[in-house]
């Protein structure tokens, strides 16, 4: 069973704060993704990566940085958090060949920016 672990599960910060969301996958997948989920919008892609050191821009990248340090680890960085970034964040992984575009999701991180 594919495994994607996100931490923390919940995070509260203040406007202007610095936040790092972590994601680790033990699936040997090459692709990793960060999505945000908001009511009425579904899931929207922030950033993704197809390998260590690689970063691709998604559909809603403004205000977010990301870094893929290893094949297993993908981080999402909010350096100056704003209330508009209050959301539920999901990390996912996939393998182009072995999972045929099927994404495996973590349990999510709920972020509140006050």
């Amino acid at each position: 069973e594919a495994a994607v672990t996100q931490s923390p599960r919940n995070k509260v910060t203040v406007t202007g704060g610095n936040v790092t969301l972590s994601c680790r996958q033990t699936n040997s997948h090459n692709y990793m993704y960060w999505y945000r989920q908001d009511t009425g919008h579904g899931l929207r892609l922030i950033h993704y990566s197809y390998g260590a050191g690689n970063l691709q821009i998604g559909d809603v990248p403004d205000g977010y940085k990301a870094t893929r340090t290893t094949q297993e680890d993908f981080f999402l960085l909010l350096e100056l958090a704003s209330p508009s970034q209050t959301s539920l964040y999901f990390c996912a992984s996939s393998h182009r060949q072995t999972s045929q575009n099927t994404l495996y999701f973590g349990a999510g991180t709920r972020l509140s920016v006050l």
Binding site: V4, A92, G106
Partner: protein, 113 residues
């Protein structure tokens, strides 16, 4: 650009009734199509997927979906719902040569006893 429309934000059905959740996509080619389910306080899980071949695909827990290319639709169906099917259902699409999924806004299903 790809897009996915789920026109029904909320659907309520009685236990034992049949179900159809609607999904329409916008893409000029033949995409890969997915349905995911999200149970409360959990991540998304794959229900079923379509790549090619038989346009009716079977998924877990009795769910199925039919790809109708002429209508750009991929509706999800179940013959008889159970209270445990209450969840949020997402339709998603990706071009066949691409590895990013685009999701619809989701449909929250409530199954009443």
């Amino acid at each position: 650009a790809q897009s996915v429309t789920q026109p029904d934000a909320r659907v309520t059905v009685s236990e034992g009734a049949s179900l159809q959740l609607r999904c329409k996509y916008s893409y000029s080619g033949t995409p890969y199509l997915f349905w995911y389910v999200q149970y409360p306080r959990q991540g998304l899980q794959l229900l079923l997927k379509y790549y090619s071949g038989d346009p009716v695909v079977q998924g877990v827990n009795g769910f199925e979906a039919e790809f109708i290319k002429s209508n750009s639709s991929f509706h999800l169906r179940k013959a008889s719902v159970h209270w445990s099917d209450s969840a949020v259902y997402f339709c998603a699409v990706t071009p066949s040569n691409y590895n990013v999924l685009y999701f619809g806004s989701g449909t929250k299903l409530t199954v009443e006893p």
